[in-house]
Amino acid sequence: MKSSNKVIGYLFLSICAIISIFPFYWMVVSMTNTSSDVTRGKLLPGGHFIENLKNLLQTVDLVPALTNSAIIAVSTTVLSLLIASLAGYGFEIYRSKAKDIVFNILLLSMMIPFAALMVPLFRMFGSFTPILPFIGIDTLSAVVLPTITTAFLIFFFRQSTKMFPKEILEAGRIDGLKELGIFFRIYVPTMKTTYAAAAIITFMASWNNYLWPLVVLQSPENQTIPLLISNLGSSYSPDYGMIMMAIVIATLPTAIIFFFMQKHFVAGMMGSVK
């Protein structure tokens, strides 16, 4: 590469990197400053971290919202992984023409926008309310149920299963394992990295989900973190320091996952293409 090209390359990358990082820097710095400091454009850390945290805890129900989000995200992740990996394995290992047709039909669901589903789903869960109140409107289960099965995740597991050495399955059968036993004792342990990647994708999507919880959750005690942030953000006289504190706390779990599991994180994204 010519040296002038190189300089342009570094300049381009540096500008993009600064633009990418700046909002994070601003978030973190602002959570230690007073609201008026933030408006004044202060870009250095201040000493109001504790004060902002106290304000936040007093103004909103942060801990219940974190708990709700955690319950929803963890149960969604566990159930999704189980259901999608069983299906992805089933479609690949017990492959048949009929199953391939069903698989392709399932893939079509990826084209369906959630906005188109939200009204009928809202009515469906509304009709559950009188008969099965624990999965009706305004319950955490109602948030979880429609999101636990995605065609994308089934596709993801099926693609990964293609690389799975099938001879091991025969060995398991000869050892007298039942089909479900083979799945849980042989397949699951060997596919750890696939599960890790899938778990990251699902957890993040669930932790950050906004539209469906906004539609289906009504009472304040069922609020999730994105709903809480959105409410804070739309207040007329925002306390910037406090809101930035809430945003940093909400971003922390996914940021931690990203930094400690970067490889799985990227593998999860890539796996969907191969």
Binding site: I93, K99, P113, P120, L145, T149, S230, T251, V266
Partner: protein, 311 residues
């Protein structure tokens, strides 16, 4: 030693007897189907069944749950509804400006990052990918404050004398759209870049060597080699980005709330408003939702054709 001789053939004869091929196949089929049953059932219940319901509802009208059949009235209303037409226009504007800009930017970044002699590669890659860890709501609120009339962006632009008075990023119909586009581009460019980076690693470097010997410039190499080589992955990312943009909701809701007027409102937000903000009209909302489905299908077909892939 007759006994083993007697047992031998008996065993052999017995072995295949209880497992005739047909029942084995049937059993295997049943096991196979049971593996995929739960997932298929759930997708049926939570995707396809609601879509059928939405189709039925799109021929109904009324407030809340009191719906009655009105024939094609909703579809006629759709084409005369100025708000709906505005939301379609807005959504398509986001789409045709944002998706190509982001994909080109991501491609450039990946090409520059793919250079073997580049230093701090890991840092740049991580930094540019970092926006992907934020939740859509969280980053939208941050962008709303950054682009406020007295926000950091205006402050900086005025300090370096690029503008003399604050740009109305959130309250001017034109600039509000730009803000939304900038926000989405910030959030998703790094995501797309990662796909191109991994695809570039599979491109044979000798092609570039040959091109260099033939005197091809960096720009020529980019358009004549890189883009054609990455065509399948570009197609994949442009389809996912298109589907994502057509469903845009979180950002608009939290940055501009659809305003000023309806000038940034998207179709998804209009469906939400029709169902849960205004006097609920589920029937008409369902009609509008079919509009997104149709748009997604149309744009996906266009991209497949343009991409020239048969898959």
């Amino acid at each position: 030693m007759n006994i083993p001789e007697k047992l031998g053939p008996e065993k052999l004869a017995k072995k295949p007897a209880p497992r005739p091929a047909r029942s084995l196949r049937l059993k295997n089929t049943l096991i196979g189907w049971s593996f995929v049953a739960v997932a298929s059932l759930l997708i049926g219940i939570f995707y396809f069944f609601p879509m059928v319901q939405a189709l039925i509802m799109s021929f109904q009208s009324g407030t809340g749950v009191n719906l009655s059949f009105v024939g094609f009235e909703n579809y006629i209303r759709l084409f005369q509804d100025p708000v709906f037409l505005t939301t379609v226009k807005n959504t398509v504007i986001y789409l045709i400006i944002q998706v190509p800009v982001m994909i080109l930017l991501a491609l450039f970044l990946s090409v520059v990052l793919n250079n073997k002699t580049l230093k701090w590669k890991g840092f740049f890659r991580t930094a540019i990918f970092l926006p992907c860890v934020t939740s859509l709501v969280a980053y939208s609120v941050v962008f709303k404050y950054l682009f406020a009339p007295d926000g950091i962006v205006n402050m900086t632009l005025m300090k370096i004398n690029l503008v003399s008075e604050p740009v109305q990023w959130l309250t001017d119909p034109f600039w509000a759209k730009i803000t939304i586009i900038l926000a989405i581009t910030w959030r998703w460019t790094g995501y797309n870049m990662i796909f191109y980076l991994s695809a570039l690693q599979n491109v044979d470097q000798s092609i570039y060597e040959a091109a260099k010997i033939d005197g091809a410039s960096a720009i020529q190499q980019f358009f004549k080699i890189t883009i054609p080589m990455l065509k399948p992955i570009i197609l994949f990312t442009s389809i996912t980005s298109t589907i994502g943009t057509l469903q845009l909701f979180d950002e608009v809701m939290n940055i501009t709330a659809g305003g000023p007027g309806n000038s940034t409102m998207t179709i998804s937000q209009y469906i939400y408003n029709l169902s849960f903000k205004y006097t609920p009209d589920f029937g008409y909302a369902a009609t509008v939702s079919y509009a997104i489905v149709i748009l997604i299908v149309i744009f996906s077909i266009i991209q497949f054709k343009a991409g020239g892939e048969k898959k």
